[in-house]
């Protein structure tokens, strides 16, 4: 199975997330390596405390950002591969029928590693572009001895080349696992295929629309994760950025808000688009029977609303708890650390902007679904 550049480009979600992850990690790891070189020049205890606090904050940011973004990229990659296999079942079935092995077909999925190469490579380039300014801001009070930015090839290997190879291997292995199905199952595109009852639990006497909303949400758990995660990121990173200006610097603040907004909006967009596309046929049939577009989209998209709001609430609590922890535990020996209180202004700004973006996205997808004729969707 040969994946074209177009297929790779469709994975903007992974490209953007890996860009953000590597951008942040490159900035802080490069900074930590460069700052480590001046350790012997530090004589004062107060300067050493600041030096160690900076190293620690770099490690915390890298592990938090890098770790969570890496996990998201892997989950998103699995989601994409599954979706790709589902939408190309017939072609894959034909290839298997004429003698291609699952592994031979799955080898083509290694091209997904290119997404990481593009994203991570771009993130590293951008980080080195902003590096001099970042260093200047980090040491604007000239407390630490003089140091300058250097390029460290180890970061290129660890943050770009190894992840790209890792993702390529993971893609092939996951592809192999997903392709391990009988040929006929791939060739027969029966309506309703892929949904199995699983554990039989008696369904309550719910109205059709309520039941549809419930089933749509819980039978695609990866999308539940993406939507909750996106809302979590938006909430935590936007609110955190307001405190960061006071705690660290304006660069931190801007960086966090930009990464948060790009990451969460991209994830939300991809997840909601996937829900809308996956349910286009169901919506078409409901419209044929006489359900209004409002009822249809309310049932297939509306169920994700409360998940997004729960994600937002957890993000709010998380960022407050994290900042409280950092200021009271991590920086307990550092003087002049501002006391953190709950920032209601930041909360309202984050909540209103999130509500506006999410509701506009749902509304736009509803309009798109409504515009497509039932005949067009059912003919696909």
């Amino acid at each position: 199975m040969v994946l074209g550049i177009k297929d790779i480009w469709k994975q903007q979600g992974i490209i953007i997330i890996s860009f953000c992850a590597v951008f942040v990690c490159t900035l802080f790891l490069n900074y930590n390596i460069d700052v480590a070189s001046i350790e012997n020049n530090i004589t004062s205890t107060q300067v050493r405390v600041l030096y160690e606090a900076q190293l620690m904050s770099g490690k915390v940011v890298c592990s938090l950002c890098g770790g969570s973004l890496l996990a998201t990229s892997v989950i998103m990659l699995f989601f994409y591969i599954k979706q790709y296999i589902d939408s190309h079942k017939k072609q894959i079935g034909i290839l298997k029928a004429i003698g291609y092995s699952g592994f031979k077909i799955a080898k083509g999925f290694s091209a997904f590693g290119l997404c990481i190469l593009f994203g991570a490579g771009g993130g590293m380039l951008a980080a080195y572009g902003i590096m001099p300014y970042f260093y200047e801001v980090q040491n604007e009070d000239n407390i630490l001895p003089e140091y300058s930015a250097h390029f460290h090839p180890i970061l290129l290997i660890c943050l770009v080349i190894v992840p790209a190879l890792f993702f390529a291997v993971v893609s092939v292995l996951y592809g192999c696992r997903k392709l391990n199905v009988p040929v006929l199952e791939l060739l027969r595109e029966k309506i309703g295929k892929g949904f199995k009852a699983g554990k039989k639990q008696p369904e309550k006497e719910l109205a059709f629309l309520v039941q549809l909303r419930k089933n749509t949400v819980w039978q695609r758990k990866s999308l539940v994760f993406f939507i909750a995660f996106a809302a979590f990121c938006y909430s935590s990173m936007m609110q955190m950025s307001f405190s960061m200006e006071e705690l660290a610097s304006i660069v931190f603040s801007i960086m966090i808000i930009v990464i948060g907004v790009i990451l969460s909006c991209t994830t939300l967009f991809i997840a909601v688009t996937s829900v809308a596309n996956a349910n286009a046929k169901s919506v078409a049939m409901m419209r044929v029977l006489g359900y209004t577009i409002k009822e249809c989209t309310g049932a297939v998209l509306g169920g994700y609303r409360w998940i997004a709001y729960v994600g937002f609430a957890i993000g709010t609590i998380y960022q407050y708890a994290l900042l409280k922890f950092v200021t009271t535990v991590v920086f307990r020996d550092v003087d002049d650390v501002p006391d953190i209180t709950f920032d209601f202004q930041a909360f309202w700004i984050a909540l209103i902007s999130f509500l506006a973006f999410f509701e506009i996205l749902l509304w736009w997808k509803s309009i798109q679904l409504g515009k497509r004729s039932a005949k067009e969707i059912m003919g696909e």
């Binding site: 029966k190 309506i191 309703g192 295929k193 059709f208 549809l212 089933n215 577009i293």
Partner: protein
């Protein structure tokens, strides 16, 4: 009564216009079983879509008891389909993430029909309420779609090649269920098929070719699903 007058429908753009319906006129009486017969490309499915309100004609009228539906807004057309018609398609179009009970309830809720399980029983699927479409055979899936269509108590039932994806035995079974339910509930049936034998079950047969009606005739003796050839 459904009246179709001088209906014209085309697809494509100015340079590549494909006139699919070329001035169709016909009348369908209440409770009648009508089959629209024709080869592939004759325009029979387009005619069904236009009569059922799924598509608007370019010109002409489609009236239900003198109410013209061809110029209704999208909202009014949705309301019309909700109140008046049921559909059965060749490809079933069941919702894959809902079980049999809920797929049928999809139609029942529109009509406030709390007794929809009787119809599931009537199509012989009473024991499979909890099954999902992927766990059913083609014939069973089509029977779910029959139950779904009838659970909304339609005045007119539209069927587009309902046995097209089924083998002979299952096809006969599905047609038999439809025929029995027609006898019980007295709705109007408009069925599109290319199978000449199925036309023998209908009261009236409309034969189409190249977007025109070439013949309309009434069967003096209608046959059951098990009497017709295949």
């Amino acid at each position: 009564m459904i009246q179709v007058k001088e209906v014209v429908k085309s697809f494509g753009n100015k340079e590549n216009l494909n006139k699919v319906l070329k001035g169709i006129s016909l009348t369908i009486k209440d409770g009648e079983f009508v089959v629209i017969l024709g080869a592939s490309g004759s325009g029979k499915s387009t005619l069904l879509n236009v009569i059922s309100g799924l598509e608007r004609p370019d010109s002409g009228r489609v009236s239900y008891d003198s109410k013209d539906i061809s110029r209704l807004s999208d909202k009014a057309l949705t309301e019309f389909r909700k109140d008046k018609v049921g559909f059965i398609f060749q490809q079933y179009y069941l919702l894959p993430n809902l079980n049999v009970d809920k797929n049928v309830r999809m139609g029942a809720d529109l009509a406030g029909n709390g007794e929809y399980r009787q119809i599931i029983e009537a199509v012989g699927l009473g024991g499979k309420l909890d099954k999902y479409p992927s766990e059913l055979s083609g014939g069973e899936q089509q029977r779910v779609s029959v139950a779904r269509a009838l659970a909304k108590k339609p005045e007119v039932l539209f069927l587009d090649e309902p046995t097209g994806a089924l083998d002979e035995q299952t096809g006969r079974l599905v047609l038999d269920y439809i025929s029995k339910l027609h006898g019980k509930y007295h709705f109007t049936i408009v069925m599109v098929t290319h199978n000449l034998n199925i036309a023998e079950m209908a009261d009236t047969v409309i034969r189409m070719n190249s977007g025109k009606i070439v013949e309309i005739y009434e069967n003096q003796m209608t046959k059951t699903a098990y009497e017709i050839g295949w």
